[in-house]
Structures are given as structure tokens and as C-alpha cells.
């Protein structure tokens, strides 16, 4: 059973969040890690899933992390635009690993603890769209040697995996007969020029994709 979006949510639920407990208790050990003691109004950090379970029983208040505040999100939106304008290669701003799942879970289950949730939702959606747009454009930069990007969240990787893997597979198939040379002009997905170039380079090359793969990895592919 491969990792799916439910699993990503599961991993995001292990992220820590600040809470204010409404009860007094000793420390509690969860997954081998100690949390507490619980002494209101003292804040403490707990895994998101545990915080939500306590909140369901009206036993705590959750303090949303900084990354779910309007200031932070507006700042990130500006930063995404700034990076876009000032650096041609469209880098992404830095976000926590499970940012998207984490925000979704909190908005679904602890909306009342978030200040102006409608605005937060709007900003999150906008941020998501801007980033997705940038990532899609990266597909044009895809070359036979793969791709490198900064600050992709896990959810974004999960989303682009099928398309990018398929595109890279296609590029490698087109490029199959030749050796991987980083200095060579990259083959682009949407470039007519490169296709012509391919034809020129392809002449007299009898190596099949299977041979090429075996040569590289010493592995027989039966797929």
C-alpha cells in the first residue's frame, strides 16, 4: 500500500502544536516522548493529534503556529512575488515539511482557535496556487539529468510526482541512445529545436533504451 494523502495527514498529525490545558496533570509519555506536566495556564507543546483529541473533550485551547497567522501568510505571499520578480528561476519560499496538511487539519478541527479563519483560508489558497504555478513552470526546465528545487513541501512533491516522473521518463526515452552528459544541451519538453537536434544526434546510434539502462545500472527491467 503506497504512501497516500491520508498518510501525509498522519505524518502531519505528529507535528507539535502549542496548547493551554484546562486541567492539572502529571507528564504523559506518548510515542516514547514526555509531554507535560499540564499546569494551566502554562502553555506546552503536544503532537497535533493529541491536542485535537483533548480539544474534542474541551480540555485545551490550541494556539495555531506562526505559519497560520495572517501576517505570516501575507509576508510569504509577498516573498513569493519578490522571489519571482528578482530571481528569474522562480524559487519557492521556505515552508514547513507538512505545511499544507497541517493547516488543513487545524482549519477543519480547530477553526475557533484560529484568528480570522476565512482570511487564513483565502491566503493559504492563494499561496498554494502561486507555488503550484511556479512548480508547473519548472516542468519546462526538466532535463535528462533530473531536477533540483528548493523548499518543496512533501505534499507538493506528492502532487507533482506522477507528472514529473512520466515527463522525465519520456525525456530519457527520447534521449535513450546517448550517454548522460551534463554539459550537453538539455532536451526540453516543449522545444522544437531540441527535437531537430535529437534527430541529428540520434543518427548512427544503435543503442536501445534497454541496453542503455542495463549499461547504466546493470539491472534488467521487466516492466
Amino acid at each position: 500500500m503506497p504512501i497516500n494523502t491520508n498518510d501525509l495527514r498522519f505524518f502531519a498529525e505528529d507535528e507539535l502544536v502549542a496548547i493551554e490545558p484546562f486541567f492539572k496533570e502529571e507528564a504523559l509519555i506518548l510515542s516514547g516522548k514526555s509531554f507535560g506536566p499540564f499546569e494551566p495556564p502554562k502553555k506546552l507543546e503536544m503532537p497535533l493529534w493529541a491536542a485535537l483529541a483533548l480539544k474534542e473533550r474541551k480540555q485545551c485551547k490550541i494556539f495555531p503556529p506562526e505559519c497560520l497567522t495572517i501576517e505570516f501568510l501575507e509576508n510569504r505571499l509577498e516573498l513569493e512575488d519578490f522571489l519571482d520578480i528578482n530571481y528569474g528561476h522562480k524559487p519557492l519560499s521556505n515552508l514547513p515539511k507538512y505545511f499544507i496538511e497541517f493547516s488543513k487539519i487545524l482549519l477543519e478541527n480547530a477553526e475557533d482557535d484560529i484568528e480570522n479563519p476565512a482570511r487564513v483560508r483565502y491566503l493559504l489558497q492563494k499561496l498554494k496556487e502561486i507555488r503550484e504555478n511556479k512548480i508547473e513552470k519548472k516542468l519546462n526546465d526538466l532535463e535528462v539529468n533530473g531536477l533540483k528545487m528548493k523548499n518543496l513541501t512533501t505534499s507538493e512533491v506528492h502532487k507533482i510526482r506522477p507528472t514529473f516522473t512520466m515527463a522525465l521518463g519520456g525525456i530519457r526515452k527520447l534521449d535513450g541512445g546517448r550517454s548522460e552528459d551534463p554539459k550537453r544541451h538539455p532536451v526540453q519538453v516543449n522545444g522544437m529545436q531540441e527535437i531537430e537536434q535529437l534527430e541529428v544526434n540520434g543518427r548512427g546510434d544503435d543503442m536501445s533504451l534497454e541496453d542503455y539502462r542495463m549499461d547504466l545500472d546493470d539491472t534488467i527491467i521487466y516492466d
Binding site: N151, F164, T219
Partner: protein, 248 residues
């Protein structure tokens, strides 16, 4: 029964379908341990420190297993079995089960008991998913794994037994299906059913430590922590082995 089949021991008896953690009812394990024993101990600081160290270790085991699960899911080949993490978490589950059972009978501490139950279920979920992922890989690549000493070394004892049993079953099946006499199943026939790991599979990985790109002429150019690289698994294999990258 092989270790890899012994998921029942981990508390999911009779459940063939992997489900997200719930709050099942279980038998009380025979361990007399209370949460207070761990946190409110009347012994001296030394013991507290010991407990804290143990906490840090088991918490780390949970994180290690989560990371190993993700790596295992995306890696085309079988990776090293995390025996230490599995053993430690198995013990932790037994301890937590006993503690939470005690808590649930005390009304004031019921909410904590429920939390502990859920916490234990989360550990079990990760363990079960990890073991199932490996079992699936072993069964798919059984011939390739058993023919390679490197891959064989990566299996637990129970996984190795399971792989050998599975290979025998496969051979029996082939004999029956191809209607061959017992001694006529040649290696070449078996080899045609061998599925090797596709090391040229494209994977995504996140850089954890600075690494030099494979095509860099200048070693000053490095992949930095946080970079996400998409490339062939074969090129990321060594970096994954020394924990310089994690698969995502």
C-alpha cells in the same frame, strides 16, 4: 510463523486490512507499570535521567521507523531492516498498553488513557505499514533477493525464512503450472520469473547534509540541506545509505 507475519503480536490480530488507528479493546498485558512510575518517581535524579534517556531513545525510534517506512516505500530495492527500532517500539507498546489500561479504569485519568491508546495505535500503524511494505517487496523480488548476499543481509531472520518459504511455494506453483517433473525445473526457467529492483527508477529526495552533485566538476558546488532532488535512485543510493538524503 515468521516474524513478518507476526503482526498479531503487535495488536492487529485478525485484521488483514490496514486501517488508520482507532481505539481497540485489548487484553491487559501482564506488566504492572503506571505512568507515575515513569514521571513521578520517588527515586533519585539518576533514575529520572535514565528514564529521560530512554524516552529520548524510544521517541527517536518512532521517528527512525517513520523515516525508514517512507524510504522503504519509495526505494525500489529492499533496505536494511530496522531491528533495533522495531524491538524497542514493541516493548514500548506493551508498556503503554498496561499503563493506559490502568488509566482507563480511573475516571479522572480516562482522557489520558485514551490518549495513550491512540498513541500506541499510531506506533502500531507505522510498524504494521513498515512490515507490510517490506513483505510486499520481498514477495515481488524474492528470487533476486535470495540470490544476492547483500540483499539477504538486509532481511531479519523471520523475513529470510519467509522469503525462502515463499520461493519454495513459487517453485511448487511453477512445477504444477508448467506440468514439469520434480527435477526438471531448471534455473533458467525460474530466472524468467525473476523481478529485479529497477534502480533506474526516478525518485524524489530531500537533502539532509551537504552533498556534491554527481555531475559537478567543482566540489565547491553542493546540494544543500532542504534541496529537493529528482533523479535516478541509483545515483542517490549511496547518499541514502549514509543518511545524507531522505526519500520523499
Amino acid at each position: 510463523m515468521s516474524r513478518i507475519f507476526s503482526l498479531n503480536e503487535l495488536g492487529h490480530a485478525g485484521s488483514s486490512r490496514l486501517s488508520r488507528p482507532t481505539r481497540p479493546t485489548r487484553e491487559l498485558p501482564d506488566i504492572d507499570l503506571d505512568i507515575d512510575d515513569l514521571t513521578d518517581s520517588d527515586t533519585e535524579d539518576e533514575k529520572d535521567q535514565e528514564t529521560q534517556l530512554k524516552d529520548a531513545e524510544t521517541s527517536n525510534d518512532y521517528e527512525i521507523l517513520k523515516r525508514s517506512l517512507i524510504n522503504e516505500e519509495f526505494s525500489p530495492e529492499i533496505l536494511m531492516y530496522q531491528d533495533k527500532a522495531i524491538d524497542n517500539l514493541d516493548k514500548l507498546i506493551q508498556e503503554q498498553d498496561a499503563v493506559s489500561k490502568d488509566m482507563l479504569v480511573t475516571h479522572e485519568r480516562k482522557k489520558f488513557g485514551m490518549l495513550l491508546f491512540s498513541g500506541t495505535d499510531r506506533i502500531k500503524y507505522i510498524m504494521e505499514k513498515y512490515l507490510l511494505c517490506r513483505r510486499n517487496k520481498i514477495e515481488t523480488q524474492v528470487l533476486s533477493i535470495l540470490s544476492s548476499p547483500i540483499y539477504k543481509e538486509r532481511l531479519s531472520t523471520a523475513e529470510l525464512t519467509h522469503a525462502e518459504d515463499y520461493k519454495m511455494l513459487l517453485e511448487d506453483y511453477l512445477k504444477a503450472e508448467l506440468k514439469l517433473p520434480n527435477d526438471c525445473l531448471e534455473d533458467s526457467i525460474i530466472k524468467t520469473f525473476e523481478k529485479k529492483p529497477d534502480l533506474s527508477k526516478t525518485v524524489f529526495c530531500r537533502v539532509l547534509k551537504n552533498i556534491v552533485p554527481r555531475d559537478a566538476q567543482d566540489t565547491a558546488i553542493q546540494h544543500e540541506p532542504g534541496d529537493v532532488i529528482m533523479d535516478k535512485y541509483a545515483y542517490m543510493r549511496d547518499a541514502l545509505k549514509d543518511n545524507s538524503v531522505e526519500l520523499i
